[in-house]
């Protein structure tokens, strides 16, 4: 299926900012459309890097490959949690790998402490509070937003209404509308950004 995607690093000649942008775009494609070519491109970029990192840290080929596989599996399964506003794909993927390595070494050293990487660095925890915080921060009342709401694209209106008026979770909305969770998240985000802009113009 994915034969023919070259493994060598084609990004090398591109400067790092453009590279980060294109990786970011690929992650969004994975999150929103479950795009396999986009994932393959990310994989080809990161797998050799993760392996080199893991070999240096753990020094064991089998464990290094396990770390590559576990990290890239999380990227595929949790891509909807990537938030470009918070950092680059490299940083996000590094933190996933760092967490996996931390737990791996804990297990190898047979540490009894019940403190795992999720407690220390909640990289892959869903942050439902995120979107709510924006509206609290901005102290936006429903009436203020009401008129502007009509200017949003229909698809975004549906999602915003379900979450903020009906109080549904993003997962519930995704199931109900039969669209990927990543799409619900990005629609919510886009709608909130749009509303924020409109409010700024409004003032």
């Amino acid at each position: 299926m994915l034969v023919g995607i070259p493994l060598e690093d084609r990004q090398k000649t591109v400067n790092s900012k453009e590279c980060a942008d294109s990786l970011s775009a690929q992650l969004v494609l994975v999150a929103e459309q479950r795009s396999k070519p986009a994932f393959a491109a990310l994989f080809n970029h990161f797998a050799p890097r993760l392996r080199s990192y893991a070999l240096k840290q753990i020094g064991n080929e089998a464990l290094a490959m396990e770390l590559v596989q576990d990290t890239m599996s999380k990227v595929w399964q949790k891509s909807h949690l990537f938030n470009a506003d918070k950092g680059s794909p490299s940083t996000w993927i590094f933190t996933i790998a760092r967490n996996i390595r931390f737990d791996m070494l804990r297990k190898l050293q047979n540490r009894k402490e019940d403190i795992c990487s999720d407690d220390l660095w909640p990289v892959l925890c869903e942050q439902t509070a995120d979107v709510n915080e924006i509206s609290i921060d901005e102290k936006v009342t429903l009436e203020q937003v009401g008129g502007l709401f009509a200017n949003l694209p229909r698809k975004q209106q549906v999602v915003i209404e379900a979450i903020y008026i009906d109080g549904k979770s993003q997962q519930e909305v995704a199931t109900e509308l039969d669209i990927p969770l990543g799409t619900v998240k990005s629609r919510t985000r886009l709608a909130l950004i749009r509303l924020k802009e409109m409010l700024k113009d409004h003032d």
């Binding site: 034969v3 994989f43 599996s73 950092g87 993927i93 019940d114």
Partner: protein, 221 residues
């Protein structure tokens, strides 16, 4: 205003994942309360990420990854799991103390409060392993007899303030002490002081009657 922070080396080791889990937990909780260290950690993470995932010393013998990609693509997208946190606070004598997010998971493994000498309360936190974690509450005027540490003590002030003859510590302050420090914490704050503390060896008392406590210090902390 938080005055006492982890050192840059501690933050770097924390971000790198090479710091011990006990110290890391206290640093994570400190960062919940401290915007400065939060920003520092974000910055360090970015730097470390680009260092760690660069391909400077590229390995020539790359294995074949195609079967790995194939098996990953078979995995389903994981549904959203909402982290369920039952307790965001702990209670002592009718007073509620909201915990920084990193410590909330431990509220459910916190034992009941017991009263110690000198207006001092202690609730053990079961973190497993050899480190001893406790919530310690000093009532106003409460103090811990002068002591030094055989091991390392990492402490975070969660509420109120105390002083130890060297400094005054307030909410969010991070305190790292090893066996070169001798101190006697005392709280004169109206609200007393709640701290979270992890020690990897029992305390060693150095003064007065408290010296007699030493053989029993494993009971005390």
């Amino acid at each position: 205003m938080i005055k006492n922070h982890p050192s840059l080396e501690q933050l770097r080791a924390y971000v790198d994942g090479t710091l011990g889990s006990c110290d890391s937990l206290v640093i994570a909780a400190h960062c919940d309360m401290c915007e400065k260290c939060q920003a520092e950690v974000a910055q360090l993470t970015e730097v470390l990420a680009s260092e760690s995932l660069s391909l400077k010393n590229e390995l020539s013998d790359q294995p074949r990854y195609s079967s790995m990609i194939e098996s990953i693509l078979q995995l389903p997208e994981l549904p959203q799991e909402n982290a369920i946190v039952e307790n965001v606070s702990i209670e002592l004598d009718g007073r509620e103390f909201v915990l920084p997010p990193s410590l909330r998971r431990y509220a459910s493994v916190t034992g009941s409060w017991s009263k110690l000498v000198g207006k001092l309360w202690q609730a053990p936190v079961n973190i497993g392993g050899t480190g001893k974690a406790n919530f310690i509450f000093m009532e106003k005027g409460g103090s811990v007899p002068e002591h030094t540490h055989k091991g390392r003590e990492t402490t975070l002030v969660i509420n109120g303030e105390f002083s130890d003859g060297m400094n005054t510590y307030k909410s969010g302050d991070f305190i790292y002490l090893n066996d070169t420090h001798t101190h006697s914490p005392l709280s004169n704050h109206e609200d007393g002081c709640l701290v979270f503390s992890i020690i990897d060896e029992p305390l060693h008392f150095t003064s007065g009657v408290a010296r007699l406590l030493n053989p029993f210090s494993h009971l005390f902390f």
